[in-house]
């Protein structure tokens, strides 16, 4: 094992044992002397004003320390900018306890601070609030005609608006040999990570706090807190050692962070604010979306006209956008397109990126439309994708940095047994059950962003690498340790990756599947710089056998540096440290993606999902019997954690297709199933055989690792593959997700 590179090894999660044995501590589990507890009170109306909050009765309860409302909160930063964060869409960020105005149902309106959590929660339940309600609107479907174009802002850089129309869509469409048009309706979804949102703020004295927060970005939260409360950044330390899932919900600082820090600074005490499960439904969600498609193909099966429009929900205060309609023409090279994306502000909290935002929404519309078109033209759905294979990205007129999607189709189909499929819907059966095979293409952009990393050769001759990045449960700790280990040719045991702390070198928020490329590249840059420094030291040693060696002549291996030409020459890191007066050797470096080169390429991970469903013909019950996803995502750093990501994505896709929905009652503007008993995600009994294939893909452009993230790609193709399989089984096309089994009766 010793000399094998760590990259590419199926290493188990390094923190796995700590997590499953319960020793891993999460943000809401840190203690401090005299810790106070906060419980948030949320609005029960959707829009209007708070007339009065009767705090007196509650304050009289022994053990209740304070009730913070808009009336007694400290005066804070003034400008929208100061409330902004790395993931803030254009608009004015929501400010907790800003004033008496209610903008959405569930908005936090008070924080009760008490000596125990139970007491704070009890006090919250008896706090009397009177409101003056105003009329409101939360029903996207009934207000489609009021949609408008989104505002542009910094966020538009990462989420480009749709490309301009191309060719003459209407003519091409009406001239097409086959046409399909359809409408797709998606409801609200909530992230629902298992770990609840919590912030423990340790009060360290005047103007200084250490914050344990559930977040996907320690520095994001540090800047947010510093800006709002006017604290020196160096006096705000945000730590997020473990994150029990987030899926996007931690991309922005959430209101428990604000409230916890505010209370700690006001009361000069340490305080923890934990949100409960219902309160997870009071910020951020995947927005409901209405999509319309019109695709036309000519007689040889080539798609020549694509019209894809989408209307997404946003709040009244921010323009949250997703990339929904940009994908179709990257995947299928039609010459005539109209791609439009609009927003409809409603009286809701701002939507928030949720695993494969936009992409998983779009793929359902694109891939179902393609499936229907294939059906109309009597072409096998996979064959149809191959006929329409894009060798370059025609939407931007540039090549792909790499694209092995064709292999995904071929290898996935082979493994799945796609050839067994009888093209006729309702033609395959097993006893009482209808059997359906469906497939779909998946696509997710491979981005990377600048980041810094520190690399240290410790006094023990081991490697320590650090970055402020979080590990949201994806295996970041493990893969970064692997990447770092190869930099000095060390075994994993001799490498420590420190992370999840804003004191460490800069990393952006963890999302969009860009962490691996972003932080991994920073580690590589720092690793290279460290090797240089170490070699320099080694060369300066007395009688150094490496005196005349240059970079290319040496190998970092066996805990030291050896000569390529003579492996017997080995100076151990420990010896080098001794020569360095027993001091560690350290470097901090920044990696910056080469935008000038990268902008000439479309960079994306691809996938193909194949699904078999079984449907009870009389009762409609649906089971996803098996699924295969073939993924092309460049170099796979750790096949085990990567496979887990894909499996998790596939299960999420099953969830999206069949189970997951936040139920809204538009009469009240409230979400009605705010708990995991009624917000359905798949149970074990709903998940059967799942298989993952990683297709070989070499990418020499994308980054030094040649690696694309795999956090979202596993999800993207699953929901459409399932709905296509349901069509194949039953002949029914249900374009509203989730598909309830009774719709198949």
């Amino acid at each position: 094992m010793l000399d094998l590179p760590q990259i590419g090894q199926p290493v188990s999660r390094l923190e796995g044992r700590a997590k499953v044995t319960g020793t891993a501590k999460y943000a809401g589990e840190y203690n401090a002397d005299g810790l106070l507890y906060g419980y948030v009170v949320n609005s029960t109306i959707t829009r209007g004003k708070i007339v009065h909050i009767d705090t007196n009765a509650v304050k009289e309860i022994e053990g209740v320390i304070e009730v913070f409302t808009h009336e007694n909160r400290p005066s804070l930063a003034w400008f929208d900018m100061q409330y902004s964060d790395m993931d803030a869409p254009p608009g004015s960020p929501f400010r907790p306890l800003q004033n008496a105005e209610i903008k959405y149902n569930g908005q936090p309106i008070a924080l009760i601070v008490a000596e125990t959590f139970e007491l704070a929660r009890y006090a919250a339940s008896i706090l009397k609030v009177s409101y003056q309600g105003e009329s409101f609107e939360t029903d996207l479907y009934n207000h489609q005609n009021e949609a408008r174009d989104p505002k542009k802002g910094v966020a538009t850089l990462l989420k480009p608006l749709p490309p301009k129309p191309k060719g003459d869509f209407e003519k091409a469409f009406s001239d097409s040999a086959a046409q399909v048009s359809a409408e797709f309706v998606h409801g609200t979804e909530h992230h629902n990570p298992i770990e609840l949102f919590a912030t423990t703020t340790i009060y360290e004295g005047e103007g200084k706090v250490t914050i344990y927060d559930k977040t996907q970005g320690t520095i994001n939260c540090q800047l947010y807190v510093g800006n709002i409360f006017g604290l020196h950044f160096k006096n705000v330390r945000v730590i997020s050692p473990y994150v029990g899932g987030a899926f996007g919900s931690g991309l922005r600082p959430q209101y428990q962070l604000f409230l916890s820090v505010m209370a700690a600074l006001q009361l000069k005490r340490s305080i923890r604010v934990t949100l409960d499960r219902q309160q997870m439904y009071t910020f951020g969600h995947r927005p409901p979306t209405i999509q319309k498609t019109r695709f036309g193909a000519d007689s040889d099966g080539k798609v020549n006209a694509i019209n894809h429009t989408a209307i997404g929900e946003t709040s009244r205060h921010e323009d949250y956008t997703e990339v929904v309609v940009n994908w179709a023409n990257i995947i299928y090279p039609a010459k005539n397109t109209i791609l439009e994306y609009q927003l409809l502000p409603m009286d809701v909290s701002s939507p928030l990126d949720m695993r494969a935002p936009g992409g998983s929404t779009a793929s359902h519309a694109i891939e179902s439309t393609m499936d229907e078109l294939a059906h109309k033209m009597k072409i096998d759905p996979m064959q149809f994708r191959l006929i329409n294979y894009a060798d370059i990205d025609v939407s931007e007129n540039r090549p792909f940095s790499s694209k092995e999607l064709r292999q995904c189709y071929i290898q996935g189909a082979e493994k799945f047994g796609w050839a067994e499929r009888n093209p006729e819907p309702r033609s395959m059966r097993r006893g009482h059950k209808l059997v359906g095979y469906g497939m779909a293409t998946g696509f997710w952009e491979a981005m990377s962003i600048p980041a810094r990393a520190e690399a240290v050769l410790t006094r023990e001759g081991k490697l320590r690498v650090s970055s402020a990045v979080t590990d949201i449960g994806t295996g970041t700790l493990t893969v970064m340790t692997q990447i770092a280990a190869d930099e000095l040719g060390l075994p994993l045991d001799d490498v420590q990756f420190c992370y999840g702390d804003s004191k460490m070198p800069f990393a952006p928020i963890q999302g969009g599947s860009f962490t691996l490329a972003t932080v991994g590249s920073a580690i590589k840059v720092a690793g290279k710089a460290l090797r240089k420094k170490i070699l320099k030291k080694a060369k300066e040693m007395k009688n150094s056998p490496l005196k005349n060696a240059s970079d290319g002549d040496v190998i970092f291996e066996r805990g030291g540096i050896s000569l390529k030409s003579n492996p017997d020459v080995l100076i151990s890191f420990r010896e080098i440290i001794v020569a360095n007066e027993d001091k560690e050797i350290k470097t901090t470096n920044m990696s910056v993606p080469n935008v000038f080169k990268l902008k000439n390429y479309t960079r994306a991970a691809h996938s193909a999902a194949f699904v078999e469903v079984e449907i009870d013909e009389e009762l409609g019950t649906i089971q996803v019997k098996r699924a295969v996803t073939a993924v092309a995502a460049g170099k796979i750093i750790n096949p085990k954690t990567a496979r887990s990501q894909i499996l998790g994505g596939m299960i999420w896709g099953i969830s999206k297709a069949l189970y997951e929905e936040t139920i809204s009652d538009h009469r009240y503007g409230r979400y009605m199933n705010q708990n995991l008993g009624e917000y359905h995600i798949p149970s074990h009994a709903d998940v059967h055989e799942l298989d993952v294939i990683f297709v070989e893909e070499k990418d020499e452009i994308i980054n030094e690792l040649g690696s694309k993230g795999v956090g979202e790609i596993g999800l993207v193709a699953m929901a459409p593959a399932i709905s296509n399989a349901i069509f194949h089984a039953t002949g029914k096309r249900i374009n509203k997700l989730p598909i309830h089994f009774d719709e198949l009766l």
Binding site: L619, I663, R670, N675, L745
Partner: protein
């Protein structure tokens, strides 16, 4: 959650004493429903009387009349896996195992199962009107999101469903509920235990607040040869029934000697229509006979905006489940459809 006092009863007499005359006292058994209700501020109790330490009623035992008695404090899991239940009342065992999750069944008790409250979303959300939670405020489910609501026995005041699986089997088996209280012991046929909402939707059943369920009696006849429980729901486990059916058949010379069919997920109580069961008597166990019975059982069902599908689904489920009862070995775990 509001503060409450806690008292551990060492025997039934003490439990009754603790709760006597106190409308706001609650017995706590497994707590799987009660604690949620307290946390959501749906129920408040000034006193929780813990009945888990009462030494009696923790057994499942054969009775001299040939039946079996289920102690009220036996857990759902222990009941489902008890050899007497598995062998003589497999329908009950299957129904229990179709409910909740393994963890919840390990805590939930037989008494508590009968008394669990509806899963109507509005009932659980104090910010919305609900006649069951706050009589007189109105019913949000009528005119709201009512996919999971009732289609039988509803009233203009409430269309909630009683969510138990276990009780559907108990209804089919014609169990008897044994009760004790300040005024002594009494027994109630299962069919009389739960109520329809009528104009008192806040009352789920006919147990008085200071009474305790001590046991449930199963009559001798357990339909152990031909039985089936089918549960249709939005996911394969850990979801309440949209429609469930418990069927027990007694066959002789390919004729139905006796049939029991009870439905869950459709009404404010487990639903049985004796006329339909009588109709099946001495008939052949065919799909068309079961379909006729299904029509009778669903007679008068009315759907609401999102749940009309339940009517047709229930009819089909009845037919399927009766056919499954003819082949009990074909049954799937989780009471999923088979054949």
């Amino acid at each position: 959650m509001h503060n409450f006092n806690y008292a551990q009863a060492q025997n039934i007499g003490e439990a009754i004493e603790f709760a006597k005359g106190n409308e706001s006292a609650k017995f706590i058994a497994g707590g799987t429903n009660l604690i949620d209700l307290l946390k959501y501020n749906i129920t408040t109790a000034n006193m929780l009387v813990d009945i888990n330490h009462v030494p009696e009623h923790h057994l499942i035992e054969e009775k001299s009349d040939g039946g079996v008695r289920l102690g009220a404090f036996v857990t759902n899991a222990d009941t489902a896996y008890h050899p007497l239940i598995e062998s003589r009342y497999p329908l009950l065992s299957k129904a229990i195992l179709a409910g909740a999750s393994a963890q919840i069944r390990n805590m939930a008790t037989n008494g508590g199962n009968l008394l669990q409250r509806t899963r109507c979303y509005y009932f659980y959300d104090p910010a919305t009107p609900c006649n069951k939670r706050e009589p007189g405020t109105g019913c949000s489910a009528i005119g709201g999101y009512n996919r999971i609501m009732a289609v039988l026995g509803t009233s203009e005041n409430c269309i909630a469903v009683f969510p138990s699986d276990m009780c559907v089997a108990l209804a089919a088996l014609q169990a008897v509920v044994n009760i004790t209280g300040p005024e002594g012991d009494r027994s109630m046929p299962f069919a009389d235990f739960h109520r329809l909402p009528g104009d008192t939707p806040h009352l789920d059943n006919n147990l008085k607040t200071d009474e305790i369920i001590v046991s449930i009696d199963l009559p001798e006849k357990g339909f152990d040869k031909n039985y089936s429980y089918l549960k249709l729901r939005d996911r394969s486990s850990y979801a309440f029934a949209l429609v469930s059916v418990a069927t027990g058949l007694e066959l002789e010379n390919n004729l139905i000697k006796e049939a029991r069919i009870a439905l869950g997920g459709l009404a404010h109580k487990p639903w049985r229509v004796e006329k339909a069961e009588d109709f099946l008597k001495d008939k052949e166990p065919t799909m068309s006979n079961f379909a006729s019975a299904a029509e009778m059982i669903l007679f008068g069902a009315t759907g609401f905006e999102h749940n009309s599908f339940k009517i047709e689904l229930a009819k089909r489920a009845i037919v399927r489940n009766c056919m499954m009862a003819l082949n009990p070995e074909s049954q799937q775990p989780g009471a999923q459809p088979s054949l």
